[in-house]
């Protein structure tokens, strides 16, 4: 079994996300710095061990590659949203980017919602979520629903909180170990 053969869409996306987060998180958030790195590394290994064997017979499908590429793209866009903030804000605000089955991305931030600089990154075929006081994940889900979009995958800049995880799971989604990524069937 080669390393590619255990990759389902989910595991491939999760590994890509966690691999990237391991690098990115180490330079940023004061509260989750270090913790997120360790969690992400452990989660990557855990997911591979847990899901890998059951998926060992599955070959990498075009769907898996597309999902993984989409996950990596979302992670990159989330980095971009966070990078549009000043250094202090990067430590105190959450960014989320959700892809949808219709091909439109939903961009969101928690609490105060997207800043002007972040909104400037979302010009074009994107939905800009705004739900004052709500977390970024909830804002993105609400925005997708109101726009008639079906969530596919979502990357976030800080670990998903228990309340948002419950909301994601309540909508049929799954939160990856480490809490930096979610997907919907």
């Amino acid at each position: 079994m080669g390393p590619v053969s255990i990759l389902t869409p989910t595991t491939l996306a999760v590994v890509l996300i966690f691999g990237r987060q391991t690098l990115v998180r180490g330079t940023g958030h004061r509260r989750f710095r270090g913790v997120a790195m360790v969690v992400s590394l452990l989660a990557s290994v855990t997911v591979l061990l847990a899901v890998g064997p059951s998926a060992a017979s599955a070959s990498t499908t075009p769907h898996a590659v597309v999902a993984a590429e989409d996950g990596a793209r979302l992670a990159s866009r989330t980095d971009g949203l966070t990078g549009a903030l000043d250094p202090i804000a990067q430590n105190s605000r959450t960014s989320a980017v959700m892809s949808t089955r219709q091909g439109t991305d939903v961009l969101a931030s928690g609490g105060r919602d997207l800043s002007p600089a972040q909104r400037a990154l979302g010009q074009g075929d994107n939905v800009l979520g705004r739900l004052p006081g709500a977390h970024a994940e909830t804002t993105a889900m609400d925005a997708a629903g109101k726009a008639g979009l079906t969530p596919w995958q979502m990357a976030v800049s800080l670990p998903i909180c228990p309340a948002c995880q419950a909301a994601i799971e309540g909508s049929g989604g799954t939160v990856a170990p480490g809490g930096m990524f979610a997907w919907w069937p």
């Binding site: 202090i88 919602d113 739900l131």
Partner: protein, 195 residues
């Protein structure tokens, strides 16, 4: 930008203008940005029972003072950055966004004292613009944003304030610079209450 009132928020132009300022004036410009947010912050802190307002005020006073040492500024900057609330904190005030902007602006003013980095001044100005945007967007229905920001009174106020602050550096005394910033801050608070 040459010091006159801005007609739009252009960070690149602001950065270029700040880069031509001497280091001490950069700090004053950043402090003038933070000062314009203090009335909002103090009002929110008083309404939410926040006890940190006095320490943030003291930190900003350090940024205004020519006698503040680099070590004092660095220590105060570190302390004040610790006060920036996370937007998702359960006990954060409703308008936590404005608290974030104010404390961050103070922190960037103190950073500027040590670094004289033009980018730190731009970050301080960014806080002011973001705060005005936040006040404007409170009027938008959920899942929508008001797009034509430059027509909105809070945005116009901060753009005029940024322009006049740069101008004040060249022509006004330190006292005048600070008093104008305080007056603009009072005006921004009034707009916040009126929106």
């Amino acid at each position: 930008m040459t010091g006159e009132a801005l007609i739009e928020y252009d960070e690149a132009a602001l950065a270029a203008r700040v880069a031509r300022l001497p280091g001490a004036e950069r700090t004053l410009l950043a402090a003038a940005c933070a000062e314009r947010l203090m009335p909002l912050y103090e009002w929110i802190a008083a309404a939410s029972g926040g006890a940190a307002a006095a320490s943030v005020r003291s930190a900003l006073d350090l940024a205004w003072s020519a006698s503040t040492s680099r070590e004092q500024a660095e220590q105060a900057q570190l302390e004040v950055e610790e006060l920036v609330p996370d937007e998702d904190d359960e006990d954060a005030p409703v308008d936590v966004a404005l608290v974030q902007n104010t404390i961050a602006a103070v922190a960037y003013a103190l950073r500027t004292m040590g670094s004289h980095d033009a980018q730190d001044v731009v970050w301080a100005a960014r806080q002011l613009y973001e705060a005005a945007d936040y006040i404007v967007q409170r009027e938008a229905p959920n899942q929508t944003y008001i797009a034509d920001l430059e027509q909105e009174a809070p945005i116009q106020l901060v753009l005029r304030g940024l322009g006049s602050a740069v101008e004040d550096l060249e022509s006004a005394s330190l006292t005048q610079l600070r008093e104008r910033a305080q007056a603009d801050g009072d005006a921004l608070l009034a707009l916040f209450k009126a929106e």
